[in-house]
């Protein structure tokens, strides 16, 4: 298996381990840790067995405590906050009147929130489509061995390694209407007659932030898809080639079907990641001009911390986002489980 050497099929590796250890994939193997008696022959004295189960709980406890403290508590308090009229006057006392689903209703009636939802959909779909197709193209390209491919592949990882604030700032300069290098190039090649107001027009600002986000996302897609391609056995391709299948037919009938589990992982993880993108947009446009790049994340931040101090509304906006991400997270977990079963 070449995949194991590559170490690129992170998701695949991670899932394979519990399966190899005999646990039930995709579930918490609580029974293995001492609660389900009888699935294992008794060993040693009763004291020792009790000590064993204490030790087993001891191993799980830190994780449970960690999850409860850093994930469950903030999630629950954010949920509670979204049902409160929590404004500036509540910050000191921490007390705020409960107002039921009022925050959610107000959000749904808020035209800016509507714009933000539409923008988020455009941003996510646009990012995924281009990141994925370009990432897949590069993965297929690098799957053919050629000189310097290793070096080039590592160079392509650079967008992934840069801090998002740096990337956003550089793209803001590149896309500057009057002094940006992109307009300079386009003008000198006579591709456009006048400078394109990339981040300064309601019709092109979204394209501007998408350009940046797609650039950031390509390496992630390429790396995971490349790993998936490497794990497709060569003999299947050879057999198909012997049967007279052309390159395109092999890609359609062998590569794509065998790559499907990896594709599902890449797309769901990409979606969960893209839906919560904040830094890139904040650095480039702050949601402007005139809310044309305002997403649910940036609007939620603005409601809470942008001077409005409507923490209840901000919490409600982010909760809606969490629900969407959660739905896709479940979808992701299911798809990886079926992948393990398929193996």
């Amino acid at each position: 298996m070449r995949a194991a050497q590559d170490g690129a099929t992170v998701a695949g590796e991670w899932q394979r381990q519990p399966a190899a250890a005999g646990g039930r994939p995709g579930r918490w193997a609580v029974g293995r840790l001492g609660w389900e008696r009888g699935d294992r022959p008794a060993r040693g004295s009763g004291v020792r067995r009790r000590w064993n189960s204490v030790a087993r709980i001891g191993f799980v406890l830190p994780v449970i405590l960690y999850l409860a403290l850093f994930f469950l508590y903030p999630l629950v308090s954010n949920l509670v906050l979204s049902f409160q009229d929590f404004g500036i006057q509540s910050v000191y006392s921490g007390r705020a009147p409960f107002n039921g689903v009022d925050n959610y209703l107000r959000l749904l009636r808020d035209p800016v929130f509507g714009t933000a939802v539409v923008n988020t959909v455009v941003f996510v779909v646009g990012s995924l489509v281009f990141q994925f197709t370009i990432g897949l193209g590069l993965a297929v390209f690098f799957n053919r061995a050629f000189p310097l491919s290793g070096l080039l592949r590592s160079l392509l990882l650079i967008p992934w390694l840069l801090p998002l604030v740096v990337t956003g700032t550089v793209f803001r300069w590149i896309l500057d209407t009057s002094n940006g290098v992109l307009n300079h190039v386009l003008l000198s090649l006579h591709l456009v007659d006048a400078p394109v107001p990339w981040l300064n027009s309601v019709s092109t600002a979204m394209i501007g932030v998408l350009l940046c986000n797609v650039w950031i996302g390509i390496p992630f897609n390429m790396v995971i898809l490349y790993g998936g391609l490497r794990s497709i056995p060569v003999d299947v391709h050879e057999a198909a080639a012997l049967d007279g299948a052309t390159g395109l037919a092999r890609f359609r009938h062998i590569t794509m079907p065998l790559l499907r589990p990896v594709v599902a992982v890449v797309l769901t993880l990409g979606l969960i990641y893209t839906i919560k993108v904040f830094d890139v947009i904040w650095v480039m446009t702050k949601g402007g001009p005139a809310n044309s790049t305002q997403t649910v994340t940036t609007y939620g931040y603005q409601l809470s911390f942008g001077g409005l101090s409507q923490f209840g509304l901000g919490a409600a906006a982010s909760n809606l986002l969490i629900v969407v991400a959660l739905v896709f997270a479940v979808f992701y977990l299911r798809s990886t489980r079926s992948e393990v079963v398929a193996r």
Binding site: Q89, V91, S178, N179, N200, V202, K286, G306, G307
Partner: protein, 392 residues
């Protein structure tokens, strides 16, 4: 073993870091501000030291770039710093939480509107050591070459800007990004036209937005004004890409650093019959309501006294909040003339709207961006803004 020691050291470091804000006894005051660049980065501690000594305390300074959010977070955990240098439009909101201490200080000699900007519900919570306003910087070399006089009215401004727009050079730049900065810059035109913040869609306001829309629409101002900050304006002005810019006095050291000397400063141009005005900018000293608030008030009194107000203003290139000191400055340094002239009539952003100002401001910068990006006419954009600000 070594690993354990390392972990222990890390934990100690972390806890020491967390305890920093609240550490100390009655003789140590905590202070927060957002001045993370020189000259203030090094000069402010000296000023704090002087005033701390007078009050018999030591002051521990902390620089926090996103100060407003940090202070709100500390308000939530009842751990407000003893002294905090807040941006003046944020003062009312922080005061509304009840976490600030009322300052029993005399404010004789200060500009009345500056004192007003430090009040919340009639009580004094913040005092400004210095203030600022926006005015029109213009490149004297370019103006002389084109034979244009510094514009006084909006019509002059349009004509001059069009005249000075050639190739890569734009006639005028202002900064209207989707932040408070955008509102602050627009308010200079808006207030000079006689607009009032409580009615965003007044005819004066529409006229002011129409002016900016025309400037961008005709190409006299770059489209980049929608994403540029005031610091970006300074860079563009310094390298000659802008013949005029709307900016504050705090840019003077940056321009000097860039070697830009061929400029002068005029009051904000006005429509026929208007007076140059601006929103009042600058920070105010406030004291937390902790057990050391009396000492903190003493320090604020020292920091805002006439002499210290003057040295603060010299460091920040602000106008002293003390009226007499401000006039002295205008006489000795002509670059400050326009700023000083505008201060007396500058409007505190929270003066009429109080804690609701951020809501109006967000609606306002959105309207400005809508009009400049061609999404709506100035009248329609401002009408929507008024609805957004007063609704909910």
């Amino acid at each position: 073993m070594r690993k354990l020691a390392l972990i222990a050291a890390t934990v100690m470091l972390l806890t020491a870091g967390c305890g920093g804000a609240s550490a100390g006894d009655d003789s140590t005051l905590t202070e927060m501000d957002y001045y993370n660049t020189d000259p203030l980065l090094t000069a402010l501690p000296q000023l704090l030291d002087t005033c701390g000594k007078q009050a018999g305390v030591t002051i521990k300074r902390q620089v926090v770039p996103d100060l407003r959010t940090k202070v709100l977070q500390l308000v939530g955990s009842h751990d407000v710093p003893d002294l905090v240098l807040l941006d003046n439009p944020d003062l009312q909101q922080i005061a509304a939480t009840g976490a600030l201490s009322e300052l029993g200080l005399a404010t004789d000699g200060l500009y009345p509107n500056v004192v007003e900007a430090g009040r919340y519900q009639g009580k004094l919570y913040g005092v400004a050591p210095g203030v600022n306003a926006l005015a029109l910087y213009y490149n004297t070399k370019l103006f002389a070459a084109a034979g244009v006089a510094p514009p006084k009215t909006w019509d002059d401004l349009k004509a001059a800007a069009a005249r000075l727009t050639t190739g890569n050079q734009h006639g005028i730049g202002f900064a209207v990004p989707a932040t408070e900065e955008g509102s602050f810059q627009f308010e200079a035109f808006f207030l000079s036209a006689g607009g009032s913040l409580s009615s965003l869609d007044s005819p004066q306001s529409v006229a002011a937005l129409q002016l900016l829309t025309d400037l961008v629409g005709s190409g006299s101002a770059p489209k980049d004004v929608l994403t540029w900050t005031q610091a970006n304006l300074e860079e563009q002005f310094a390298n000659g890409a802008l013949a005029m810019m709307v900016n504050g006095p705090w840019q003077l050291p940056q321009l000097a650093k860039a070697g830009m000397t061929d400029f002068a400063i005029a009051p904000i141009p006005v429509p026929a019959g208007g007076t140059p005005s601006s929103a009042l900018g600058g920070e105010v000293w406030a004291a937390g309501n902790g057990p050391r608030s009396a000492k903190a008030t003493e320090v604020v009194k020292c920091l805002t006294a006439k002499d210290n107000s003057l040295s603060w203003s010299k460091l920040t290139n602000y106008v002293p909040s003390n009226e007499q000191a401000a006039h002295q400055l205008a006489e000795t340094d002509p670059r400050f003339r326009s700023f000083v002239d505008e201060i007396a009539d500058a409007k505190g952003r929270t003066a009429t709207l109080g804690v609701n100002y951020p809501k109006y401001s967000q609606a306002l910068w959105t309207a400005v961006q809508s009009a400049l990006a061609g999404r709506a006419t100035p009248a329609a954009a401002l009408e929507a803004a008024q609805k957004q600000a007063t609704g909910q």
